[in-house]
Amino acid sequence: MAIAGDLTFNPLTDYLINENGEKVMLEAPTGDELPRNGFAVEDAGFQAPAEDGSGVQIAVSPTSDRLQLLAPFAAWEGVDLKGLKLLIKAKGKCTTDHISMAGPWLKFRGHLDNISNNMLIGAINFANDTANTVKNQLTGAYDAVPAVQRAYKAAGIGSIVVGDENYGEGSSREHAAMEPRHLGVRAVLVKSFARIHETNLKKQGMLALTFANKEDYNKILEDDVLDITGLTTFAPGQPLTVVLNHADGTSEEISVNHTYNAQQIEWFKAGGALNIIRAQVAQ
């Protein structure tokens, strides 16, 4: 076809005109399944790992903007989570691409802190129908989502992300769960999750929660501060309670569900699944 230069060329029936102006047909291709003289290669490009790798140093420059070694996430502090600022109530579709955009950001995929600067920048804020503009409850000013979250983190304040249906659909990109964890978001409360993203949040030691009553999504206001209670008796199949503390001094309680099994609850308590493995390996 590339020989003919024409997509509609049918080699079974069509002629080509050669350089002498003659009509010629191509014969059907033939080939060998495997090379008659066997495969050969000088340098296949393989590096076998060290037999004992304990002395090998991992090459990551502390000044790199593409790679950053990770530090373990902190374990749960053992008490209910209180005073969580609402970072954003996302409206409508919020895929992993809204949570952690691809494109130019992919060059930071090995640098958690740098790539976290794309956290939720694609999500639409219900309060102003705009992407990447949320209120910083500490100052009252509007700013980019990652900037506001970094301000909460610097002040040692936890936060919560609220979302709509099928939150986190799309890819299995783990950055979409790691970035909020890294920047200090404690919980994601949505109408429903895409399952893979829900699992990724659990693995990172986050709380992935759903509204028991989806209408409760509407009760959450821009200036809300939220408490999550019932964590000291966190158990499979048992709902938790979220208290919405509104800016006008009133508050209301809503019931939220989760799908954590016993093992996943241990992930939450330890601050992430890898923290448990590390503890097991150390024993």
Partner: protein, 468 residues
Amino acid sequence: MAFDIEMIKALYARFPERIAAARKVVNKPLTLTEKILYTHLAEGDATKAYGRGVDYVDFNPDRVAMQDATAQMALLQFMQAGRPKVAVPSTVHCDHLIQAKEGSRPDLSQAISGNKEVYDFLASVSDKYGIGFWKPGAGIIHQIVLENYAFPGGMMIGTDSHTVNAGGLGMVAIGVGGADACDVMAGLAWELKFPKLIGVKLTGKLNGWVSPKDVILKVAGILTVKGGTGAIVEYFGEGAVSMSATGKGTICNMGAEIGATTSTFGYDDSMDRYLRGTERADVADAANAIKEHLTGDPEVYANPELYFDQVIEINLDELEPYINGPFTPDLATPISKMKEAAAANGWPTKVEVGLIGSCTNSSYEDISRSVSLAKQVADKNLKAKAEFTITPGSELIRYTIERDGFIDVFNKIGAEVFSNACGPCIGMWARAGADKKEKTPLFTLLTATLPPARMATQILTRLLLRLN
């Protein structure tokens, strides 16, 4: 000798007992897919039958493969597990960060300098934790896996949607995210919703202009881009057996384009030949010893509609070459209907570039078939109207085809050879002409309307040179 032969032998030693346990709970003849899934349960011997498309099940895959883009975070996380070595054999492949631009050598050195810190990190972390490291230029992850690691009856995960290519050697090989790879390397089980099963019965035999790619293009036309979602596609029948293992790999590879979880084929002589051809007689011998467990039960293939959720039958004797696209890989047009279809839809018909190779069809067989056509160009005094580029799937392939004079034949018709990497297919292609927005029919048509460019160029690759 094959890599990790002891792991393969240990798995095969467990096969008879695990399959017996599966038979007890499923209580009917088993497909190959079920045999592979039930022999890899994290719980060990099966204690219950799982509901297809319903139950979430924990598995223990045999291997992990990662490409250089997704490997970065997976390995940074793995380091957090504190293990001295990975829990299962794992490999890293540097293929996704090489841009195809000026040809093999300059592109490769450009990538090596531009991505040095990433490559150095991946090389050192691999060295430390017992991971096989394939350097930039070694080849495309799926081709390297097929040549070195895939084995009948195995289960692997890989951080790329085309991991499924390894189904050509009778594996269940599934594309996943970096977090899954990290978990399995760290020793956690891997969860998958127990898939639905689609059976594709191939009767007749491929010949002439028709290639394995036409089989998957036909299947894509039947199932559409979403028709394989949540399902494993199992191919069987005389048409499957008569096809090469690399041809089977091509079919499995493009199963990703119909959304299938993966695709696979029962163990047969073509796999035996390919394993021996790639210096893995030890794997072939071990597989032959438990042959009956590495394919579906005869009852299943005799009456597939009783055992699969959906059955498709394709007669290879009647199959025509297909061209799929534009815009979507499930728009299948047989070549005899292309003139009408192109006219009716106003598709541009000029072919600007032919891409030979990629992970989908850079096997020795594919390239030798292309060579037989390229030779005719010279012999019949023709001139190729479009440009050609060659992207070998691996250094093993590149070296062998150069030794056998194939590269010379391509050079004679003006072809350009790119690095053994993904370049053109994933949008990593700085093509002269593309910048100028010149009227390059399918290329602009596809990339302009179907983001991301990756998908478009993959379709382009596959449809433009589907005849090679």
